[in-house]
């Protein structure tokens, strides 16, 4: 580790000058962001701005080619042990849920605790049932994902990520694939999670949720953070022209 990478224990995610290229296309152009414990950061921005790619670099679903990412004191390098260690501390929720269709809801949730954490099955199931209670669908434990509505599937996906007892949760547009009447039930779960003190990075266009829950909102454009501020300042006094334009488009439609 280099000399200046000794973080204060409060800073759980540190990204310094993160760059990424897809072949010749420069997706991430020097992103720098620090997230403190228990903080909720919402990332918004136009599609193709690199916001999804950025949060996927935090658990190494995408590899960054320049810069430094330190998660909970571990730097992300090519070392596979570091990557697996970080992945089991960082939960992720996807736009398309990505539940395992051949496993029941309960099996989806207990799979990683049993195989990665090596918990006994009884303990994993007990915790899984508690989590299903917490996301409001305890009665669906023995169904298959295809038998659930989109909102229920996404709540199972959240429970699955939480079962590993992660320190950080990443949400990649968790409500974008949902029918309008199901968005609220998922946001309610996320809101409760934020209040319970989870560190969260959320890529979303739900500005109501951002205003209410986020500690900071980051506006992403052309591969970098253009502006980052508290919700009050962000909505009331956006500094950058691009932010204003984006907000006017997204808030008045």
């Amino acid at each position: 580790m280099s000399e200046n990478s000794q973080p204060s224990s409060d800073e759980i995610i540190i990204c310094r000058d993160v760059h990424k290229w897809f072949d010749d296309y420069h997706v991430l152009r020097g992103v720098t962001l620090t997230v403190r414990r228990q903080e909720v950061v919402v990332i918004c921005g136009p599609s193709g701005s690199g916001k999804s790619t950025f949060i996927r670099t935090i658990n190494r679903l995408e590899e960054h080619q320049r810069g430094q990412i330190i998660v909970d004191g571990i730097e992300l390098t090519h070392d596979i042990r570091n990557i697996e260690a970080i992945r089991s501390e960082v939960g992720m929720v996807f736009q398309q849920f990505n539940l395992f269709p051949h496993l029941t809801v309960l099996q989806n949730i207990t799979l990683a605790p049993i195989w990665v954490r090596k918990w006994p099955k009884s303990k994993a199931e007990e915790i899984a049932l508690q989590l299903l209670e917490r996301v409001g669908i305890p009665e669906q434990a023995h169904k298959y994902p295809a038998q659930l509505s989109g909102g229920q599937q996404q709540r199972v996906a959240i429970a699955r990520a939480l079962a590993m007892q992660p320190k950080i949760m990443l949400f990649d547009e968790p409500t974008s694939a949902l029918d309008p009447e199901m968005i609220k039930e998922v946001l309610d779960v996320m809101r409760e999670l934020a209040h319970s003190g989870m560190t969260m990075i959320v890529v979303t266009h739900e500005m109501g949720f951002a205003r209410e829950v986020a500690n900071r909102i980051a506006f992403f454009d052309e591969g970098n953070i253009v502006e980052i501020n508290t919700p009050q300042e962000f909505f009331a006094h956006p500094k950058e022209e691009r932010t204003r334009l984006f907000l006017s488009q997204i808030l008045t439609h």
Binding site: E84, R87, S88, N98, F100, P101, H102, L103
Partner: protein, 401 residues
Amino acid sequence: MSAPTTIVRPPSAPGPLRWLRKNLFSTWYNALLTVLALALIYFVGKGVIRWAFFEANWDPVRYSLKLFAVGQYPPEQIWRIGLILVLASFLFGLSARVWGGTIRNFALALAVALGALALLPADLSPLGPTGRLWLAAAPLLAVGGYLLGFTPVGKGRWALLGWLLSFVLMIVLLNGVGGISWLPRIDTSLWGGLLLTFLLAMVGIVGCFPFGVLLALGRRSSLPVVRLFCIAFIETVRGVPLVTILFMFSIILPLFLPEEIRVDRVVRAMLGMTFFASAYMAENVRGGLQAIPRGQFEAAKALGLNGFQTTALIVLPQALRLVIPAIVGQFIALFMDTTLAYIVGLTELLTVGKIVLQSNTEWLFLDMEVFLFVAAVFWLFTYSMSYASRRLERALGVGSR
């Protein structure tokens, strides 16, 4: 507004007449086609039945049942095969109670078939004095196994253990052990008929599965050496006819092996079949692997599962389920490909048919009867396989998207 009334669904008009009208006589040309088809079915059916029951001479089949079943296997040792049949019936009975469903249907079919054979008014004397007894005992033991299933032994793992142990026992029984006087080794050149066909197919099917899966995974590996090896193997084997591979294994292989190592020729044919089938299996499995969305890999990675766990727990179960029809199709083809083993001198079922025709001058022109019988036996087995596959697909389709 009156109180809400429940509106009853109008009854869908029943009656066979209506069904006939809707499905067979809906228009004048459908009516014409129906009449023509009925006439055709009548004349063909009448011809077939008259031929099969009054004109055909089934003697070559009736008097050669032992040959068709086990080939030249010594008659005084047939009790071993009887024991295997009885053992299998017993385990089928137990499995029927434990797993139910399709297995129960198979157990029932097996018990009924063996029972019917025992009562068949054909000459079973070549099966030895006890031949008919073994056949008659099989359904009884199937019932016994079923009843045993109600006791604490009726658990999945005991049934599975029983099958695994009995497979070993069956091979020992078939082959014999050198040095034991009551269980002499029986040369594989005496194995034949349905027994040999069945063995070749079983070994091919069971053997090609793990190799095929490994090759398919290897073909998608990120290690270039592994990937290249798998591609080279698959493409080479798929580019060569099965006959060539059987020749290679039975004639060329012994030339390359040192003198001390003598591989039995039935085993050589089995190796060849497995070798050949693995390449096709690999391509079937690869089709399934390609259908798994990237999100499944990402979700597994994000949860911290390693590569092996992701493959074994997430990817393969879904991929294999998708390609059950293709895999079973391949197994059926493999079952029928066993007939090619005649080319390396093995007397599998079809070859027995030819031998039977030439064994008696009066039978020389009865090839119609003999080959129809062989075809019927093949059909029975391949149809069972496709039936099992359909049931399996339905049983596993619960969580499908």
